[in-house]
């Protein structure tokens, strides 16, 4: 059971086509939109979704003490045995590490100690980056039969996977036994359980190609959308703009990364990982996405 915490409550409001259930999880506003359904069943579904989201947050948040992430990050060189769900996420992260040539690395979170993307010109010096680089690198971790051993000082952070994973898990919760279609949307990363019964498609607004451009509308009948990038998180010095996408192989932001990328895929996890991998390609983000044969939107 997720921890009872202040603010952990579900609010329900009627919409034109059904209901909107809202709650907060993982630092994002979360929403479950339904197509039809009566208030009682919708409330039950939204509550189950919220419970699942809070469970995942509690289990994998790097801000909480006592959870599996905390135990791994404080093991000080000792092996930690993890449960099956955590092992699944780590296996998935290993696949991404391999796919990205080491640029997707769950041990890279410590770089946040040097980089704060607050719109200022506060570029860290190379010495502080170098110091953190000593503590990064999945290749230094030992991962074998559900036992993870990190070098002392290393930490893992599943934040790069967690929200998309939670959306897919929650979409499945919303689908099970419900007689109506839903859309699970955690701060813009979303998945639908199927086409709405009374309309052609779910309509989702995404940012236009420039800040001035009108938002584009996407018709989603099945699948998921996820966005990487945040136009508000950057640093700028001497006319050079540094995106908040960090390359753990250099310790520096990926040069010329788009400011945001949205990808449509079968699941939110796939969409999120494709947009993240595209970001790590910097100026080659679009050719990379074009090669994948997915529908995507890129804001330079």
């Amino acid at each position: 059971m997720p921890q009872a915490r202040p603010g952990r409550q579900v609010q329900l409001a009627a919409t034109e086509h059904g209901w909107a259930g809202r709650f907060e999880a993982m630092g994002s506003p979360c929403e479950v939109l339904t197509d039809g359904g009566n208030k009682r069943e919708v409330h039950a579904v939204v509550s189950s979704v919220a419970e699942e989201a809070w469970r995942i947050e509690d289990k994998f948040s790097r801000y909480l003490d006592g959870n599996i992430i905390h135990r791994i990050n404080t093991a000080n060189g000792q092996a930690v045995e993890v449960d099956a769900e955590t092992a699944g996420l780590i296996d998935f992260a290993v696949t991404l590490f391999d796919l990205s040539g080491g640029r997707f690395d769950i041990t890279s979170g410590v770089l946040r100690g040097a980089w704060t993307f607050d719109g200022s010109d506060n570029i860290p010096d190379q010495a502080s980056i170098d110091a953190l680089m000593q503590r990064i690198g999945w290749q230094h971790a030992t991962w074998h039969e559900s036992h993870l051993t990190l070098l002392p000082g290393m930490e893992v952070d599943l934040g790069g996977i967690g929200k998309e994973y939670a959306v897919d898990r929650c979409a499945r919760v919303a689908q099970e036994g419900a007689g109506f279609a839903s859309m699970v949307n955690f701060g813009g990363d979303l998945a639908v359980t199927g086409p709405p019964g009374n309309r052609r498609a779910w309509k989702i607004g995404i940012e236009g190609p420039t800040p001035e451009a009108a938002e584009r509308l996407v018709d989603l009948r099945q699948g998921a959308l996820a966005t990487s990038g945040d136009a508000r998180r950057y640093l700028e010095r001497d006319g050079v703009r540094y995106s908040h996408i960090l390359d753990p192989t250099t310790g520096w932001p990926v040069p010329d990364a788009p400011s945001s990328i949205t990808v449509a895929a079968d699941t939110c996890t796939q969409a999120g990982m494709l947009s993240t991998l595209a970001m790590l390609h910097g100026r080659d983000a679009e050719p990379f996405l074009a090669d994948q044969g997915v529908l995507y939107w890129c804001r330079p």
Binding site: L89, L99, R172, L225, D266, V294
Partner: protein, 439 residues
């Protein structure tokens, strides 16, 4: 350190999909179905229609621009320009000697060689049409469309409005629709509209010409479409069309003939030229009511689409027509298709269709020798090739042949007429290039 490589990249999606299935504990996921709503849709086509033996040629440019707004609201604007040239049958019959006629303008005359089908060679016009339409949902399951149209030719002005409503039932598997269109057309014939059944007069004689004319047309359409299965869509429409007003073709005449020989009664042209025979301007009823029933089935099979339709039309001019139309779309690879098309059309003649008028009998109440009111069959056969360009725009090229052959009822043939070709075949070539892009 490993680097991203192109070879590596192509397998990223597949590897990711497998890893995601493992992570989420599923064996298969339903594939994504997402589509960006375009904001603009441009549809442009160039059409050439050419009849053989110097008859009608039409070069047409058409463009439809759609602006798509959120929530399925659409504004569409259409623009068409037609350039028509060539000659069209005047309605007079062939003669063994040359025949002269006054041009529709009344200001000059022309002569048709012996034995030839009299054609009015002044058929030359430019038509410009503009349409505007607005479509929006009405409630959760309704779709409302309204539109207006204006078109202008040298001697014709059309203005029209239309509206329709479609409602979805049964989980969107059934759609019922109703619509109407109302048009008011004014006809401003070159040289004025001739009084029906008056003689074609000498050059500069306008004593049988009156001013502009007009007509109203009201169309009502009721339709139902049904998704029968994921492969089959059927639809049926009934439409009623009511025309009132001036329904004559102001340029068409009938030859007034000898009741025994069937030859055109002679006439002496005036000093400035004029008709060499007696040609009476046609006379049609000033009302027409048409009923038509249209049925269509579309069958989808592994990317191939069979589209077959049949239309039956009947009206109180006693024209009955049947149209059978079949198209079969065959995909070639991912980005192109081939679509053979065949259409068969047949109609019976109007009750007042006459090849000529018998000068020895009283005139009927109405008569027209317009071949389009006669008894004829038409076959259209063609092929369309469509392909997607690199930037996902659609192009297509359509080439079709049209062949029309008609007959004049034997009872209408008088004397020498039986030996002449009174309803010559018509062959036409149709070439159309279309280009569509959205952004």
């Amino acid at each position: 350190m490993k680097a991203f490589t192109r070879k590596h990249e192509r397998s990223v999606s597949a590897t990711l999909a497998a890893a995601t299935c493992a992570l989420l504990g599923t064996t298969a996921v339903t594939p994504v179905d997402a589509q960006e709503e375009p904001e603009w849709d441009f549809n442009t086509s160039l059409l050439y229609y050419g009849e053989d033996e110097g008859r009608v040629q039409d070069a047409s440019f058409k463009s439809i621009i759609r602006r798509l707004y959120t929530d399925d609201r659409t504004l569409s604007l259409g623009f068409t320009v037609d350039a028509l040239t060539g000659a069209t049958p005047s309605g007079a019959i062939r003669q063994d000697g040359p025949q002269s006629f006054t041009r529709p303008s009344g200001s000059s005359s022309y002569t048709e060689p012996a034995g030839e089908l009299p054609l009015d060679d002044t058929f030359r016009d430019t038509r410009v049409a503009i349409t505007a339409g607005w479509q929006q949902p009405a409630g959760e399951k309704g779709l409302l469309s309204v539109g207006a149209s204006v078109s202008k030719e040298y001697d014709y002005l059309h203005t029209g409005v239309n509206a329709s409503y479609a409602h979805d039932f049964n989980n969107r598997n059934t759609t019922v629709s109703a619509g109407f269109a109302f048009a008011n057309d004014s006809i401003e014939p070159v040289g004025g509209a001739p009084i029906p059944f008056t003689n074609m007069l000498d050059v500069d004689d306008t004593s049988n010409r009156v001013g502009d004319q007009d007509k109203d047309v009201l169309d009502l359409v009721f339709g139902v479409s049904q998704v029968v299965s994921k492969n089959l869509l059927i639809q049926a429409n009934y439409s009623l069309s009511q025309s009132d007003g001036y329904l004559n073709n102001p340029y068409k005449v009938l030859s007034l003939v000898d009741g025994v020989t069937g030859d055109t009664l002679p006439r002496t042209p005036g000093p400035n030229g004029g008709p060499s025979g007696q040609y009476l301007f046609e006379s049609r009823p000033d009302e027409r009511t048409q009923h038509s029933l249209y049925t269509q089935a579309k069958y989808y099979m592994n990317g191939k689409v069979l589209d077959a339709s049949y239309r039956y039309m009947t009206d109180d001019w006693e024209i009955d027509s049947h149209t059978l139309d079949v198209r079969y779309r065959i995909p070639i690879g991912d980005a192109s298709y081939l679509e053979p098309h065949i259409r068969y059309y047949t109609q019976s003649e109007a009750e007042f269709y006459r090849l000529s008028l018998d000068g020895s009998s009283p005139l009927p109440q109405y008569a027209s020798s317009d071949y389009r009111l006669g008894n004829f069959d038409g076959i259209t056969a063609g092929l369309k090739y469509g392909w997607k360009t690199r930037n996902d725009n659609d192009m297509s090229l359509r080439v079709e042949w049209y062949q029309q052959s008609g007959t004049v009822p034997v009872v209408q043939l008088i004397g020498n007429q039986a030996a002449r070709d009174n309803y010559p075949d018509l062959n036409a070539l149709i070439v159309q290039f279309s280009y569509r892009f959205s952004r």
